[in-house]
Structure formats: C-alpha cells, structure tokens
Symmetry: C2
Subunit: 228 residues, 2 copies
C-alpha cells in the first residue's frame, strides 16, 4: 500500500547538512502490523514522515496505492493524508486552545459526519486508547504526559484511517497503559487497518509481524518478532 524507493532526506541548517535517510527502500502491505526500531537520531521520525506523506524526500520516490506522490500537489496530498492516514506524533502535537474533546474530533470535521455521531466516535476512540471521559472537557495541558499521549492516539484512530502511523506511542506510559494501546492497535489491525509503529520498546515491537531496524539513515535489517 505504501512503498519508498531509494529515498534520501537531507536537512540543511546554515552550512551543516544532515543526511537523515540514505537510499531507503521500504514496502508495507495492506493489513500489516510493522515496527521500526533504531537508535535515537537514526532517522525513524524522518522515515515515518515520508511514509505518512507529511514531508517529501530530497531524492527518490514514495508510492501510495501505486501512485507516485511526487506527482501530486500539496492540496491533493493533504486530502489523501486526511482521509487515509492517522498520525500519532512523538510530541503529541495537541492543540492547547481546544478541549480534549475538540482535539479528538478534529479529523472528523471535514468528513460531514453529524455532530451526535461524532460525539459517539470521539468517546469510543478515547476509551479504546485507555482514556477517561473526565478528560474530555479539559485542555491538553491540564492532563499528565501519558494522558496527553493517549488523547493523541485517540485523535489518530477516531476516523478509522486505513493506515495508522505511531511515533513512539508508549514513551510516557506505564506498562499497563502501554499494553492497552498496543491491544487497540492490534484490534484495529484485525479489522484490516495497516499499523506502523516506531518504538524503542522491544515489548511493543514484539507484538508486531515484522521489525525493521534503521541505523544512521539506512534500514539495516528486517526481523521476525521474538515471541520468547
């Protein structure tokens, strides 16, 4: 469903150039659950931004459903992203002036869903992410770090996107809350959604079908989960 062919990504800051991705070839098929692991700074977020159509490569091609996205203009790309993809950001990226309810509801607004149905979907998504209804009227910065993370997960899954991309979704969660989040992703996968998770946690990675390892901008290996 998504393919990266020989993708490079360079960041230039002043005179310093960082090649965050160096010729990455990556394919994920519909309905797969995969993990991406690697040291801090190795390019995981950059790779997820490419797969999630949030950023364009410096060189190389990205295909979504066989379409070369470099041929699409920004509006069409944004529309494709908003309808097909759900993104959990490493830094949550919640909107502080909106309530938790409004934050989770955000992806549903452009879809013309009636308000009452939207409210049901918001509550269900938050419950599936392990959240509590008492959070809905709060602002994000009136929640703990791990509570904000689960609101970000709820927002990513509320529209039931075909592909869910999660960047370190359990970094601020205790073991029990992390397990619940993983279970939600696996349940979504059972109903056909594709899940791609960047994680430093081997216990999360071992719940997936395939683990890709990235090191210094290159995918160095593909492993089966260690179900030991």
């Amino acid at each position: 469903i998504i393919e990266l062919a020989d993708v490079y990504k360079e960041y230039i800051v002043g005179t310093v150039s960082t090649m965050a991705l160096k010729g990455v070839n990556f394919k994920v098929y519909e309905g797969e659950v995969v993990a991406i692991m690697g040291p801090s700074g190795s390019g995981k977020t950059t790779l997820l931004n490419m797969i999630g159509l949030l950023d364009r490569p410096t060189k190389g091609n990205v295909f979504f459903d066989g379409i070369d996205v470099s041929k699409l203009n920004d509006n069409i790309l944004a529309n494709l992203r908003n309808t097909k993809l759900g993104f959990v950001f490493q830094t949550f990226n919640l909107v502080n002036r909106l309530s938790v309810f409004e934050n989770i509801e955000l992806p549903l607004i452009p879809k013309g869903i009636p308000r009452r149905v939207r409210a049901e979907m918001v509550k269900e998504a938050l419950a599936r992410a392990g959240g509590e209804e008492s959070w809905l009227r709060k602002k994000p910065n009136q929640l703990s770090g791990g509570q904000q993370q689960r609101v970000a997960i709820a927002r990513a899954i509320v529209g039931k996107p075909i592909v869910v991309l999660a960047d370190e979704p359990t970094g601020n969660l205790d073991r029990g809350s992390a397990k619940m989040v993983v279970e939600t992703f696996l349940n979504l996968n059972k109903s056909g959604h594709t899940i791609i998770v960047v994680t430093h946690d081997p216990e999360v990675a071992n719940c997936t079908e395939k683990i890709y390892v990235i090191r210094d901008g290159e995918i160095t290996g593909e492993f089966a989960p260690n179900k030991a």
Copy 2:
C-alpha cells in the same frame, strides 16, 4: 534535604476537581539516588513539581534544608530553585528561538561565570548527556526527539546543582542512550549530588537506591531495587 509533610495538591478546572496528591509524606536525604514509579496519571509529575519547588501544595508543608518554603516569597523561592536545583521536564521545555548552545547555557547566565568558562561547561554537560557538538548551533526543533531530551538533560546538569530532578528522562531514548544518561546521573551522585528520577522504566529504577511507588496520589510503598 527535601521533605514533604502531609502534602495535598488539588487542580480545579471549571467545576471538576482533581486531587493529584493526597497526603504525601516524602523525605529525600542529601546524596541519595531515588526513583519514583507509578501508573500514568498517578501524580508523579505533580510530586516532582512539589519537590522541585516549581509549584506550591494546596495543603501541607514542603521543607528545603529545614526551611518551610511556604514562608518564602516567589522571588526567594525562584532564586533557591535556580541555584540549587536542576530540572529535566517531561516535555523538555526547550526554548525554540535559542540555539542548543544557548539553551544549555541558560542556567549559567545569572551566575556571573565568564563566557569562555561557560562554553566549556556547556560542551562538557552535553557530552555527559550523550550529545554531540554538531547539535550546538541547531535550534531544538531541528533535532530528533531523543536528541532534544539529551539537550534538556545537559541543561539540567550544566550548573552542577545540588539536586537533579528528572521527569521521565529516557522516554524517547533507545536502550544504549538511556544507559548513558543513567550513568551520568550515577556519576553526578558519586560526587555528592542528590538525584530524583521519575520513570516508567524498571531498568532505570533498578539503578537507584530506593524506589517509591505512587498510585492515585498516594505513596503506596518503598522498595529496594531488584538487582537481579
């Protein structure tokens, strides 16, 4: 060195009240290395904010070096905090319009340290946190999540504060980087600094002398690390 006596903390949002801390008694002695663990939303950050003099309790007393801080006005409290405490925030709280160098240097500015000495201290602190000199000219949002976390750690330790408080300092780090951060805290401790770490990671907690567990706003137990 820091003592909490029967501390309560209540957050009121509209009509909803959350009692984040319910009668916490907590003592940390000079030169100790302790961990605080507990489920997401249990009150760890709120507790660390009390210990770190960043917030005042709704009820109960906090003593720093035997002084009841409720008797101190905000200016004196801020001065005490800036000279004696180093804080690693759960969400890093780096200043995006300043370079990484300027961010780490920030705690040194009020201390009248000559510029050349400050530059040495900034580089040493970043190296000890596992960072690289190539980051110094970047802005924080031009770094990866785990790289930003290590800049936040460097900023907390650069002034060699008597007490270092770290809120989930390894959430965005791979195993190797996390070990290096823990080692830096333990080295600081060897030279007499007091270290208090909030963490979800048992491997980090097991490197400390004492593990406090908090659940739903109350400290429910104190454990010895499992050196198994």
